[in-house]
Symmetry: C2
Subunit: 155 residues, 2 copies
């Protein structure tokens, strides 16, 4: 990339700085709260929430990695850690070549069922209560626009 | 927390899901790009960018931790890793009790000066180009509102 970098102009930079700082602060606080409230890491929470809510408690490894937008290696390490602690199990499918299922255990269900109500209170307190319903809706629409745009972009 | 959880209503949930998925995807992609383009982790990039841009290349450890919204332990591990690789040094100040300075080395400056132009191109490509200037400005304003709200909230 030898061309002059297209640095952000002052308006773009102000918006980007506010956004990046907001998401870092919000995600940092929510992560520390999950840890303090339930002893789970944010990654444990994300995996269990997606696995139980979207996947009905049982999903192909690759589908789960795609759902939470993680690389395979990250998901693989995470699943190993969670399996050791009894939150999920890995069901191998040697026959069909499409990879293992990840399954939430009863202990995994219990953990997410205890953590989720506390998490939603923090999401309300830190984000939802900060905005009017219209502002929240606008944030959702802008996020969706960016997501759709990113899907068309190379990695 | 024994009261009935105030689960998100469908509009709130749609907005929250879009936002969380967008920021996870965006931050994940930018992190992988920094790694691929420059061999730095996202954390290396964040520390060097803030240290050189806001701190003039030299900041108190605690001020730097506060600036990037990290806990002391996370910053401490990160600085140790970066010092080993020669990107920063730690200048102890035994006299004033206010803790060490973290200083960007010439190698640290070189690393961030090479990485930053590439990073800004990815920020443009993935986020800024997805939105009109008005939408970007709205995202910035909403982010600022949430940040100000969080500052008044307990951790």
């Amino acid at each position: 990339m030898n061309a002059t970098p297209r640095w952000l102009n002052p308006d773009e930079k102000a918006a980007w700085d506010s956004f990046i700082r907001m998401q870092e602060t919000l995600i940092g606080r929510l992560s520390r709260r999950v840890q303090a409230d339930s002893g789970m890491s944010a990654s444990d929470f994300i995996v269990l929430a997606n696995l139980t809510e979207t996947g009905g408690g049982r999903m192909r490894f690759l589908d789960l990695a795609k759902l939470v937008e993680w690389e395979k290696s990250r998901m693989s390490h995470q699943v190993t850690r969670m399996a050791k602690r009894g939150l999920v199990t890995r069901e191998e499918c040697p026959d069909d070549g499409r990879g293992a299922f990840i399954v939430a255990t009863p202990a995994g269900y219990k953990a997410i069922e205890e953590a989720a109500p506390k998490n939603v209170e923090h999401v309300r307190r830190l984000l939802i209560d900060a905005l009017t319903p219209e502002e929240l809706s606008t944030l959702g629409q802008i996020s969706k626009r960016v997501l759709e745009h990113m899907e068309e972009q190379p990695e």
